[in-house]
Symmetry: D2
């Protein structure tokens, strides 16, 4: 079984080796992966989405997701942060005006910025109001992936005057903004997905992305699909990484030794779910590439077709990652259960990450399309 080689492989290889060498230990330690975040900054891969003309990687989403998946195979927490870097860059692009996002993208190249997230739209405790002629944000967000050690934060708030969600950008050292660093979950441990507290944090109007704004056009509404695809590729990477552990067990067996046919059958069953995920993820990434290239002219129907492809990939990836990260342990040898080997982390990571939003809704959306011809209603999850 050969994994398809990637055009980015050369840039990725040393990073992957470094991450793999310490992934189990860092899973035990938790906390912020300062050193590894540094490696990502140095790799230049944080600007894959930025045009080559501006010094970025000029990569397609398909290529970016290939990198997400490759990183997730060895370290799904870092894979997630790496994927969200590009999601947050895309958020500026999709919700803001060119005079907003273009300087941010260029500064990201110049400053090797790592972006973090304080956006969780389910968490409506953060408000934006006018106070003494200034726009002020107050409240507390949870699940702010990558907030620690970030150079810029994407924040959201409910605007008191309109009751609407607004999204914008803040530097992490803005007065009143405090990143709590309190993430201590049983999986995805180094994603720094803890809380952010905002007390009378001033945000400039120019830092708020109002045009077209959150989900303001079909094109802007690609944002949740880009996010879902990060999940798809982290899930896929987890399944592939876990399966690779099983493969290593077999590589070590004495030459010519017989292999239990039931184990081969079980391995095939698990692997089939990986192959199906790969195929659906590739189709969805291709559809997204096209929609991204289309730009502002993207129609609701064209966006809808991407959404359906993404929903299919997401549901399949969810099932595959949960099945493989638990089932591969039936195929590994006795070292499988040793705590220091950390082979349980694949399931822990997959389980925490797949709780993000419920797979039954994805199945419902798929059924709604397949049976009724309706596209998913754009939201922060579909």
């Amino acid at each position: 079984m050969t994994t398809p080689t990637s055009p980015l492989s050369a840039a990725l290889e040393p990073l992957l080796s470094a991450l793999a060498a310490t992934a189990a230990a860092r899973d035990r330690a938790g906390g912020t992966a300062h050193h590894e975040r540094g490696l990502l900054r140095e790799s230049g891969l944080l600007t894959l989405l930025v045009p080559a003309a501006w010094g970025g990687g000029g990569a397609s989403w398909s290529q970016i997701y290939e990198a997400v998946r490759a990183i997730a195979r060895v370290d799904s927490a870092l894979g997630h942060l790496f994927g969200f870097q590009h999601l947050l860059l895309a958020t500026a692009r999709l919700f803001g005006t060119p005079s907003q996002w273009e300087p941010l993208w260029k500064a990201t190249v110049a400053g090797r910025w790592f972006w973090g997230n304080a956006l969780n739209p389910k968490d409506t405790r953060v408000t934006l109001r006018e106070h003494e002629g200034k726009l002020v944000i107050d409240g507390r967000k949870s699940f702010c992936s990558g907030a620690v050690d970030a150079d810029r934060l994407v924040v959201s708030a409910i605007e008191e005057r309109t009751g609407k969600l607004v999204v914008g950008v803040l530097p992490p050292d803005r007065a009143g903004l405090r990143i709590l660093g309190d993430w201590d979950a049983f999986g995805q441990r180094q994603t720094d997905s803890g809380g952010v507290s905002l007390e009378s944090v001033v945000i400039e109007e120019s830092e708020i992305w109002r045009s077209p704004g959150p989900l303001g056009t079909p094109f802007a509404a690609l944002r949740p699909l880009i996010a879902q695809m990060v999940f798809v590729h982290v899930f896929l990477g987890l399944a592939e990484g876990a399966f690779a552990e099983a493969r290593r067990t077999f590589e070590g067996r004495p030459a010519g030794s017989a292999v239990d046919p039931f184990a081969l059958r079980r391995g095939g069953e698990l692997w089939l779910s990986v192959l199906a995920t790969r195929a659906l993820a590739a189709e969805a990434a291709h559809a997204l590439d096209e929609a991204w290239t289309t730009g502002e002219g993207l129609t609701a129907a064209a966006r809808g077709r991407v959404a359906v492809a993404v929903a299919a990939a997401k549901a399949q990836a969810t099932f595959a990652s949960l099945a493989v990260t638990s089932g591969f342990l039936e195929l590994t040898g006795p070292r499988a259960v040793a705590r220091l080997e950390g082979l349980d982390r694949y399931w822990r990571n997959a389980r925490v990450h797949t709780l993000h939003d419920p797979v039954d809704i994805k199945l419902r959306d798929l059924g709604q399309h397949a049976l009724l011809g309706q596209f998913p209603e754009p939201s922060f999850y579909a």
Copy 2:
């Protein structure tokens, strides 16, 4: 939900309408679909594999399988016969010499030949021996799809002298050859997959394909993969055809009426299995196209990679077709159970057809590759 349009659609459309109109009735009747076989002959689609320069369709395998699947959606028995037409043409190409297969392909165009099958390699009761200076075949074959009303038959026999399987071609009116027309199964009823009896049937040496012969080279060993892919696309067509029946139920509902969320979720679950099959089938067809184009220089490893892709598509298609052809009935209205509607035929067809060779072997082959890096041993089923 839109089905991807096909370049062959124009040629196919009238045929599909004609088949669909009578499919349920012909399923009840069983027997040979003389009229519909005539429509296929007239459509020109029986020569899709033959180069355009020789008057054929000049189609790729991907295109041929798209046609198989489109036909199978409305009539999986005819879809199977249509697929086997191309398999049998390919058998001549792969097992024989140019001086053997080229005239046969040209005659197929000229004579609008429909090919039939008396090859079932599991059935070893047919022998080839020398008798008074002639090569003579004796015995009986079962499961000879498309043998009735065929213009040419591909036959196999065990050569007494060598104990090896030989494969060749016979006209159906060769003395001693009798097509029994005794197929009466609960599914795939119009595939004419009954018995053939051979009593002292003379075959010329030139009619036997000895070079490279059955599975004689990696390229020749594409034959079983081409066969498996016919199954994949018949299964896929069955799942799609069944699902379309459910969709029709919903099309008829009062505008604006609410739909049970559990039904949508279930529909999505079933549809996901169809989408995964589509994606894996497309990948396998693409791999086969490449291998076919490579020709005699195909390496064992390159052939192996196709075999793995085909095994994955086959396993997935098996699961999807069985799940959807049974499960879609949970989504249809009360007409679902009416015998004359014949909605049970999707499962009956899928069930009979998926019994061809066991899916556990496909999973084992997949596991063997994914865990041990080994390709499936070429055989008439892998």
Copy 3:
């Protein structure tokens, strides 16, 4: 593998042999099983529920369901009618007063009555109104199992005055009542589940069961649970009957011949679902026996506990019957697909019968109880 022997075995054995001998042929023929209904009448088994003191069988529900399941193993259509016989007797008992149901039970013994059904509560097109001092029923019912050749019919109607459902009994020769005999489904073909037309059919007040009436008390609300348990045991019988066909294939193999381990594993997988169904069905039947014995004093909570046990058995039986009646064909030899063997009828019967009411609702009810501690709301399906 031995099937647990039943105390009723002796009475059942000749009946089962007779039904088995013609089941495949009668499945093809469809229509009313007059001869076999006669055998059931003669067997005395139609009065199992009636106390021995009144000349009945004096059986528990567990014993009755054991008989349903034994019959369903060889003929699930007759198994259903046999189960509904007891359901309809129970309906009189549960919805009516002693002065209503006692004479009916005694007449059933005396007259060897076979009861039929025109009750389908989903079908609300039938009304009851006062007309010239008489109570008159008008309308049309579908899915009236066992209506043809019935000695008494249980009917339901919506009372115009109150908008409520009323249930009562009619002789089939009452003026204006017409049994259409139009059932022609792809499964459960001899259940006579067609339509009944009622035109100005007079019903006496004494024939209407108003006290406690439909679901009028927790005890009366056992009725839908008794109905669901008929389904459970028909499903279970179908799964067992199908599995027995696979077992027969293996009985015929040459002594000492090896058996494919994958086939054994698959057989075990299917059989496990049967064993789980048996265990849950037995628990539910035992719970029902206790509730039945409790009588009118049954509390809502005690009824609720039975309902949960029944929901579990029903969901498991649904999954098992669909899985086994399709999957056993992977374990049978080549005769499996012959139309005249009729081995597809197990799935056809299971598929039609499991469409009665959706299994997702059963799962929801189970979850509601397991997570929230709530019992299913009594209805005609739970």
Copy 4:
């Protein structure tokens, strides 16, 4: 949803509360649960199997397993040790003579002995040989559950002279015996399932159980079934314990708040697998009770019937425990992922414990019985 109350509840309740209060913390800590082992010794529950006449609990296996399951709900590591206590007592009873096992049982009561295990029969590195007139054991065992802090150890070795497995008992302080205390797995962390090293350890002939010896009679061959049933009840307890965490989430919701129907459906799906496991486990425990009571006269067929019931319960429990300990997290609120809550430990415990022996073999054994009528070959796993 109420869990059936147990006759042992009174004795168990304080123990369960104590274990539950610290289970998550002790899972993090790993190592030996000295304090909790002390509670078990004090509870008197370690002698449940011993006749009341000798001061024991006089319990049936069904009752013992009910206690195993209750403990496993809150602490599956301790549940396992508790179950193995009784397995090891049973091993003396089944493999030894009355003059061997009776004193051991009485001493267990008198000394509040906790038994440990150095028996792993897959691990054949330990030998027994005669040396200078003494019987001497040498080698190393892995997976010796409960060896640390044990009062007696059951050991096995391959006898050099005969090549056969012998099983006997040793005090933990016998010269040359060293308990390594090196268990550090990602699940079942406080089972002390590490290594034992034996260097020239003298064992008396009277300490070896040769008559009837390991699997020496059908009755003696109940030993592996008793072991498998410990696993069944630990798995079941894990599933029930995990599900109870989900239930607690819902208990905390605002009164009258709506619950997502998809969540209820999913809960029902998971709970159904628990109910099926309960039912099959109860049947198997009952069968074992009968066989245990039968004693030495147990026939191979009667033993075989227990083995089949145990195989079914084991396979079902495996599937249910893996499904529920992963799936319940879809039903819990945001606290689900907090590391200190330790809700991942249910899956970690289930995953490690279900790796003991492969479930495919159980399915094969079931299929072998259901299709061929053969009982599982007695072994240390069936």
